[in-house]
């Protein structure tokens, strides 16, 4: 029997990134006793810590606000809600400056304090300090493995493992906020290796629904073999093929389509010689990590060409996640709330990536609302520590047979091989998606049958189960969305279909179901 650390709290927050820390702070400010458990270290975990998040930052001028919302609605392709956009803009505007004292907001050349964009490591260091000052108890290196359910189906805490102490933990709580981030399918996206969709799986096992999981087609350029997916420098990029001919690829964020096509043809090289000298000099002061790989490889990106690749972002700069059913980011499961990339961002981004700015504003805002909502819920129901609870976890924890599990590495390899290649995930076809789904379904069965037999590698198997589950939801959605919309491209359905101008919400883990019936087209004839 493993030692188990037993704790109680009003609110348990799973995940200590941007959304999780804002949730913990908001819950604590509402008077709740809060525990935050992070798989890694609250302060370095998550995709904010390694990035430079800007926030959707619009002054409270009605004309400016409605212009900003209109602009985003135009690329949301019918899936966003302007009221949610207005809410996150306002809350972000109100909240971010309150971090002064924890984050040293710099002044620009004109002496104006700059709030919009923050450096990730300093932002997350500030959030950790703020959370601690608000009385939040932080459990670092403490991955959650499963949610705890009461007999009535309400969520009453979670259970996990303290991996540096070798003991399990269990927190009984009145409510749980899932802020475990998105799922980047092990793509080597900077800071995303722990973003394996754990919260999607745990919440879905408890009965929560997922929305927009088909939108996993955002990619970011990086030098090959590196994790440095910081994109600003590529606004000045010039690209070349292997023969040294310049490729007609526009610089900047609109380049993914052309870059993806070029990468499917062969190797692609990049040069940053067009970056002006003053920007080169400022670059380390803007983003201190960008030059690290170049310096370590002895590459001068301003005079030398370097090979590049595209890193998949899954649902990180993709869009899907847990469906929220109320203004306080509750899921449909009593006591369970979702925030940040663990929640769908269709409400604010529609079918186009929320990029950095919208997603950061969403993490802050949804964290806030989820934290407050969880605190309210906990106050109304109490912790009910005497009531019996049951762990909701299945795949990778409680196998159905005594069979030996498949090699863990092979399953993880299969996920990356199906979810990341540009010709499978970026340029999608019904036939290709079906083929990938078959392999993912088989992997899922194998995990359900046999993984976790002896309790070894529980965290890794839970991660792997979450990766496979996320992949299945994604491609199932991509198949049902037999059209092209926003970031989702179907080569066999290039048009947008007005009948699909709605969100695709599914629930269930072993055999996912659509919340409202969706007619998934049957296999067509193979195109010649």
């Amino acid at each position: 029997m493993r030692e188990t650390l037993q704790l109680e709290a009003d609110v348990l927050v799973l995940g200590g990134g941007l959304a999780g820390t804002w949730a913990a702070v908001a819950a604590a400010r509402s008077g709740a006793r809060v525990i935050l458990a992070d798989k890694g270290y609250c302060g370095t975990s998550g995709v904010t810590a390694t990035a430079g998040p800007g926030h959707w930052w619009v002054p409270p001028d009605p004309a400016l606000r409605s212009a900003a919302i209109e602009k985003r609605l135009a690329t949301a392709f019918g899936l966003a809600d302007p009221a949610w956009m207005a809410r996150i803009i306002e809350l972000t505007w109100q909240t971010l400056p309150t971090l002064a004292g924890y984050y040293d907001f710099p002044q620009d050349d004109a002496g104006v304090t700059q709030y919009r964009g923050l450096r990730g490591p300093e932002y997350m260091r500030a959030m950790r300090r703020l959370a601690l000052d608000q009385g939040v108890q932080i459990l670092d290196q403490s991955p959650a493995l499963e949610l705890l359910l009461l007999a009535d189906g309400a969520v009453a805490g979670a259970r996990g493992h303290q991996r540096q102490l070798g003991q399990d933990w269990q927190v009984r709580s009145g409510a749980v906020v899932v802020a475990t981030g998105g799922c980047a399918f092990l793509s080597h996206l900077l800071g995303a290796h722990t973003n394996t969709g754990d919260g999607y799986l745990m919440a879905a096992e408890a009965g929560a629904a997922l929305s927009g999981m088909e939108f996993t087609t955002y990619y970011t350029v990086a030098p090959v073999h590196t994790s440095m997916t910081r994109s600003m420098s590529y606004a000045f990029a010039t690209y070349y093929d292997a023969a040294g001919h310049e490729l007609p690829i526009p610089p900047g964020p609109g380049s993914t389509d052309a870059l993806a096509r070029a990468l499917l043809q062969g190797t692609v090289f990049c040069s940053l010689h067009k970056m002006p000298a003053d920007v080169r000099a400022q670059l380390p002061r803007i983003s201190p990590n960008v030059m690290l790989p170049f310096a370590r490889q002895g590459i001068d990106p301003y005079t030398q060409r370097f090979e590049v690749t595209l890193r998949g972002e899954g649902t990180v700069r993709g869009i899907g996640g847990l469906d929220v059913v109320s203004d306080d980011c509750a899921t449909r499961v009593p006591g369970l709330y979702a925030a940040g990339d663990a929640a769908t961002r269709e409400l604010i981004a529609g079918a186009t990536s929320g990029g950095g700015a919208q997603n950061s504003a969403w993490a802050l805002s949804s964290g806030h609302w989820a934290g407050q909502g969880a605190a309210r819920h906990a106050r109304s129901v109490g912790i009910r520590t005497q009531a019996a609870v049951q762990g909701a976890g299945e795949a990778g924890l409680r196998p159905r047979t005594r069979a030996a599990p498949p090699p863990l590495a092979a399953v993880r390899q299969l996920v990356t091989a199906e979810m990341l290649p540009l010709d499978k995930n970026y340029f999608r076809t019904g036939a290709g998606l079906r083929q990938s789904l078959t392999l993912l379904d088989d992997a899922w069965q194998a995990i359900r049958d046999s993984a976790g037999v002896d309790g070894a590698d529980r965290m890794k198997w839970r991660e792997t189960a979450a990766l496979v589950a996320s992949g299945r939801w994604s491609y199932r959605g991509a198949l049902a969305r037999a059209e092209s919309r926003g970031m989702h491209h179907r080569l066999d359905h290039r048009q947008t279909d007005a009948a699909l101008a709605h969100r695709l919400v599914q629930h269930g883990v072993d055999q996912p179901q659509w919340q409202t019936p969706v007619s998934t087209p049957q296999p067509e004839e193979q195109p010649a």
Binding site: T44, H188, P284, P288
Partner: protein
């Protein structure tokens, strides 16, 4: 990925063990932490940033371990580069390493202007 903990710089404070988001390191009873699970390293450089002794070297390759030329790493001043450029700790008041992240928006605007000038010109 993480390649080298410089033993004659490391004080054994184990801060890197604590902050590693993927739990790559293991504290040792004496001496520097052990790189116990190098394959889990996500090459995020956070351990370097939090190491006040500049005793950690993370290689650029995030997909496989690579040999490290330790003399070159030392000679090129790569140890502590990230912490210095981030203006952490003793570098906090040095204006050469001020936080100018706010310039990012303007850089994007400049890039867009350059690109459209090139198209029309």
């Amino acid at each position: 990925m993480i390649e080298w903990i410089v033993s004659d710089r490391c004080t054994g404070c184990n801060q890197c063990v604590a902050v590693c988001p993927t739990n790559v390191l293991e504290a040792a009873s004496d001496g520097p932490p052990r790189i116990a699970r190098q394959e889990d390293c996500q090459t995020c450089f956070m351990c370097e940033l939090y190491c006040q002794e500049d005793a950690i070297f993370v290689g650029a390759d995030c997909e496989s371990a690579q040999p490290v030329d330790r003399q070159a790493v030392l000679a090129q001043g790569l140890l502590g580069q990230f912490r210095r450029d981030s203006g952490w700790d003793e570098w906090a008041s040095d204006p050469r390493y001020a936080n100018e992240h706010w310039r990012m928006d303007r850089v994007f605007l400049l890039a867009r202007a350059l690109a459209s000038a090139q198209q029309t010109g």
